[in-house]
Amino acid sequence: MMPSTLANTFAQANHYFNTAIAEHFHAIDSGRVQPALFIIALAFGYGVVHALGPGHGKALVAGYLLANPSKRSHVFQIGFLIALVHTLSALVVTLCAAYLMNISANRLFRDVNPPLFQISGGLIVLLGCWLVYNVFKERRIVNEPVVGTQTSRFGVVMLAGVVPCPGVITLSFFAITLGHMGIGMIAALFMSLGMGLTISLAGLLAQSVQASKAIATQPKWFWAIRFFGAVCVVLLGLWFLTHPIPQRAF
């Protein structure tokens, strides 16, 4: 299967959820509860599919988990918290735009996203350097279980989540313009649950690589994979820094 065929499939899935949610928002005016429930369910599905695309912190989580072996419960904690912060930052942008500045949320997003993206990139580089230092420091105790600290986990959550999710911005602003802010906020939160699931699964995949017998029983490999994960985090941050998001139209 060609990559673009996959791209097409993802795009169609995103388009389906986008259109279906918009249609059900219009149906809310009929006074029935059913459309609101459909919106919530669709928002969850939209979140799952939406987070499959680039961004949303998956690569950062994967690099962090390779460098910093964590418990399975911590992987889910990181995944869902990133999605929540990602959504909350989007809701802040949307509400500020709609109620304080009287402009569309996408217009404000175009202004705040490029600097936020670069600040986040710089902080990710610092986090990556810290991970490289720690992994290097622990190179002699490679086959002992290592668990990331609470502070570093929440650092990853903040760095990955702070850039607002444009999908949530579009959805919640659309809801506000139709006069359904409440449902819009609930839908955004369910969208974040869907995204959290995808991000967590991406993290679990990285965690299972780290925990696989082939690596866990070979101290050199175990250390090498940790080092690789830490370097990936540095490179990811550098990439964000050197590839600022262009000023987008929509």
Partner: protein
Amino acid sequence: MLKICACLLFYACSALAHPHTFITVSLELNETELKVRWLFDEMTSQSLLEDFDTDRNGIFSPKETEAFKKEVFNDLKQFSFFTHLQVANKSVPLKPTQLFLWRENNAFGVEFHVDLKPYVHQKKSIGFWDESFLCALSLEKEQIRTSLPYTLKEVDNAYYYGYLLEFL
């Protein structure tokens, strides 16, 4: 090893599709002019209507159109307006001559014209895609109005998809 492969595949796939905006393209063209029309998905349309139909009358005045051109449309030059013209197998920078905006039900529409007179009787092709893939464009045969013979095919690009219109 299987897990490592699955992991690599997953993250490779993650670098794929992620459109936030969906645009239905329709075309009208002859030897001397190309007219491109975009109709946006409802969610994006709502946002664009809020920003540019400032008097909320569903009609775009020259002032509102100019604001859209300055704030949004001109920036699309870096993406070749999602319209990649090739003449004699060489890429040609697109220079839209006219711009119109309209509202169709809940959708926001954009129309721009491109002068093809300098390229009359030369072999041409036009691609429709967004390389950053934040916009997904769709183009069907039914949305093309022309008397020129052409073929339309879907294009497999590196990580995004598009459509290529080739004139025979």
